[in-house]
Each structure stands twice: as structure tokens, then as C-alpha cells.
Symmetry: C2
Subunit: 68 residues, 2 copies
DNA sequence: ATATAAATATCCCGATATGGTATATTATGG
DNA sequence: CCATAATATACCATATCGGGATATTTATAT
């Protein structure tokens, strides 16, 4: 999860992200550290929130946005 | 998960896919039906196996391959 | 149409992973 | 330093998972 990097680049806190996406701050922390994996619905919410592809979010490509 | 569609297009069985990826046939079945979600490592194995992006696999784009 | 086999779905269960609350740690500003 | 914001960790009840076994559905041959 490239989440931490993306989030910091936008200058938003774990808590704000958590509140915006209806989740807990500690969950965000755990996703960023890789301690736990967000389910698909949450993964998609995060990708949509930052407007990046899942592949980018998971560190599989350098291109932030998906095709089409 | 667009897995079923992709797999069928390539004409391979759940069992073969399962064996190729070191998993169980019933897991494949469950991922296809959406009853359960593969963890990220498995998700990536599947995407690599079929050479498609995660975004495509999850049905978020019509473009099968990821950028770069 | 029926028998056989292949493919897929479902049941059960112990093990693992998850989300939530609370709390601890670390960073930042005054 | 101190206060506060930001982030990480502990604990626990519950949900989800993988795997073996089995049932069901679908294809194939006779």
C-alpha cells in the first residue's frame, strides 16, 4: 500500500481520511503499515478518494491513474 | 472480481488455475462468486497469471492491462 | 437416455485476520 | 518543557478465511 505516501503528499491526516471515508484512524494506520489489509470495498473507496488506480495504490505501477 | 469471465475466456478450469497458483479449487470458486475476497498477495498472483491489472480484475476499468 | 467423468458449488470447522475502543507513543508548536 | 495533534499499539469479540470432504451441476461418450 502506497497509502502513506499518497496521503502525505496531499497533506491530510489519518484522522481526516478516516472520517471522510467512514472508518477508524487506527485502521488507516494499520493499512499504511501493512499490518492489515483493507477489504475491496475500502480499497476502492481509498482509490476513489485520491483518484488513483488500485494498481498504483498497491505499488504495482508508477502511473497513478488507471486507463480510461 | 471479473475472474470467472477472464478465466473462461482463456479456457482454463478452476482446478488448473488453483494448482498453478498453489491454492484450492474451492477458493477459486468463492472468489468468483464474491463469497470471499482473496488477500492482496493472491489478488496479485491472479492478475499476474492472466496479465491483467488489478483494476480490471476488480471491474473498475474496461482496459485489461495497466499503464506501464 | 444413461453412465461416467469433469467442473463447480457448498458444508463444516479450526485457525487467522479484522474492526473498534481505549491507550500509549511520537511529533509539532508555543 | 508543556499542550495538543498525529500516529502507533494492546486487547478483545467477531468475522472471515483456507482446506478437506462432499454434494451438485455440467459435459462427454456410448
Amino acid at each position: 500500500m502506497r497509502l502513506k505516501e499518497i496521503r502525505k503528499k496531499r497533506g491530510i491526516s489519518q484522522l481526516k481520511l478516516a472520517m471522510d471515508l467512514n472508518m477508524n484512524q487506527n485502521s488507516v494506520s494499520r493499512y499504511e503499515s501493512g499490518e492489515r489489509e483493507a477489504d475491496y470495498a475500502t480499497l476502492i473507496k481509498i482509490a476513489d478518494y485520491f483518484d488513483v488506480s488500485i494498481d498504483y495504490l498497491l505499488g504495482r505501477t508508477e502511473n497513478p491513474r488507471m486507463n480510461r
